[in-house]
């Protein structure tokens, strides 16, 4: 079942989720609900508690789920939860199992695999087509202060 893979990835135990009291305070504070509408003008409404219950009942969560897509890992849900359930880590586990990383995130992990650290010029170059397509390039003028030309440093001990 999907939940068995997810709780392993998220470092939770299944019983950590069974304590959920259904208070939905996580839904009331979730940052994703601040987004309002997506670019196609469709309402975004998420309920992290519903996601937990669906996982717990053995339902499959798909990559289209708005919480899986847009969770910002802000931990507002965890902070508000009476049981401090770490929902962002469950969502990250879901993303990992559904293999839905963006080209930038793939390049980020690729850099860590090669050098043991994030080498930003590599991450940038590997995601250039994505950055062009998604309109990031128009921010280049503002990003000049962030850029640095330096050689990568390979970690000897690996990562």
């Amino acid at each position: 079942m999907q939940i068995d893979a997810i709780i392993g990835l998220a470092g939770h135990k299944k019983e950590d989720l069974s304590v959920c009291m259904g208070c939905r305070i996580c839904a009331s504070v979730c940052t994703v609900n601040d987004l309002g509408k997506d670019p196609h003008n469709a309402d975004i409404m998420v309920n992290p508690q519903e996601l937990l219950v669906r996982l717990f009942l053995g339902e499959e969560i798909s990559a289209d789920n708005p919480l899986v897509r847009y969770c910002t890992s802000c931990y507002r849900c965890t902070d508000a939860c009476p049981w401090k359930i770490r929902i962002p880590e469950i969502v990250r586990g879901l993303r990992e199992s559904l293999e839905i990383a963006s080209p930038f995130e793939k390049a980020f992990k690729g850099s860590v695999r090669i050098w043991g650290r994030v080498y930003e010029p590599y991450v940038f170059l590997m995601s250039v087509p994505f950055l062009f397509k998604e309109g990031y390039i128009k921010h280049m003028m503002k990003w000049t202060g962030y850029m640095s030309i330096h050689l990568p440093h390979k970690v000897k001990g690996g990562s």
């Binding site: 987004l35 670019p39 802000c74 931990y75 770490r86 990383a101 962030y146 640095s148 440093h153």
Partner: protein, 223 residues
């Protein structure tokens, strides 16, 4: 006056070099010395979906720190990951903000007549257990230098930085919410918050807290 192990993390050696330089200058002014952890590796940031993999990264960094039991980690994600990896509390993981709590900074300028909005972002203040203790440290510093604090209700909202390179529109919307409700100059400590807010800011200035301290110390000419 202490010597600390230093974990800069990937961003402070790249896009957030300004924060790295600022932290080193400010802590030097306070009499602290920093010794970089040799051969440190990525902490896993907030990108890794496999938690055991993520925690193993920071555990390796703690092993590399060896005898350096007090470690300064400026990047909030690195700080959180190192704290989580140090399950049994063999190390003291500190954010520079914690070293600025109730210290005497010799100021040669003040911030009278200037308004600032401190913005902490997410992982400095959440989740419980890895958050910094003093949730008002930036406000205290700004007012101690004579500055005025604005935009109190947005300090712990989310800028959406984690979605920046997946769904840019989402980050634009969340960052704009924060910028619209802020007053004066926005003061941050997180490299990702800096990039998100600076990118989507039309006229508001976004600075690191270290810039503000270096300015009052007289080591930086402008804000």
């Amino acid at each position: 006056m202490m010597e600390y192990g230093y974990y800069p993390g990937c961003s402070l050696t790249g896009s957030a070099r300004k924060l790295d330089k600022g932290v080193k200058q400010v802590l030097k002014h306070l009499g602290h010395t920093l010794r970089e952890i040799p051969d440190w590796n990525c902490c896993g940031a907030l990108e890794y979906g496999d938690r055991s993999e993520l925690v193993s990264f920071s555990k390796q960094n703690l092993t590399k720190a060896g005898a350096m039991k007090e470690i300064v980690a400026p990047c909030p994600a690195c700080y959180k990951n190192l704290k989580e990896a140090d399950g049994e509390g063999a190390f003291t993981i500190l954010n520079p903000l914690e070293l600025l709590d109730k210290v005497d900074i010799k100021a040669s300028r003040d911030l009278k007549g200037m308004v600032f909005t401190p913005y902490y972002g997410c992982v400095l203040l959440r989740p419980e257990g890895t958050a910094i203790k003093n949730r008002n440290i930036m406000e205290e510093l700004i007012t101690s230098f004579g500055g005025e604090v604005g935009g109190e209700k947005i300090k712990d909202r989310c800028c959406g930085g984690n979605q920046f390179f997946a769904n840019k529109w989402a980050t634009a919307r969340l960052s704009t919410l924060i910028l619209d409700q802020s007053k004066g100059t926005v003061v941050v400590f997180c490299p990702l918050c800096h990039m998100a807010l600076h990118t989507f800011s039309k006229e508001k200035k976004v600075i690191y807290l270290t810039d503000l301290i270096l300015y009052v110390m007289g080591e930086q000419k402008t804000l």
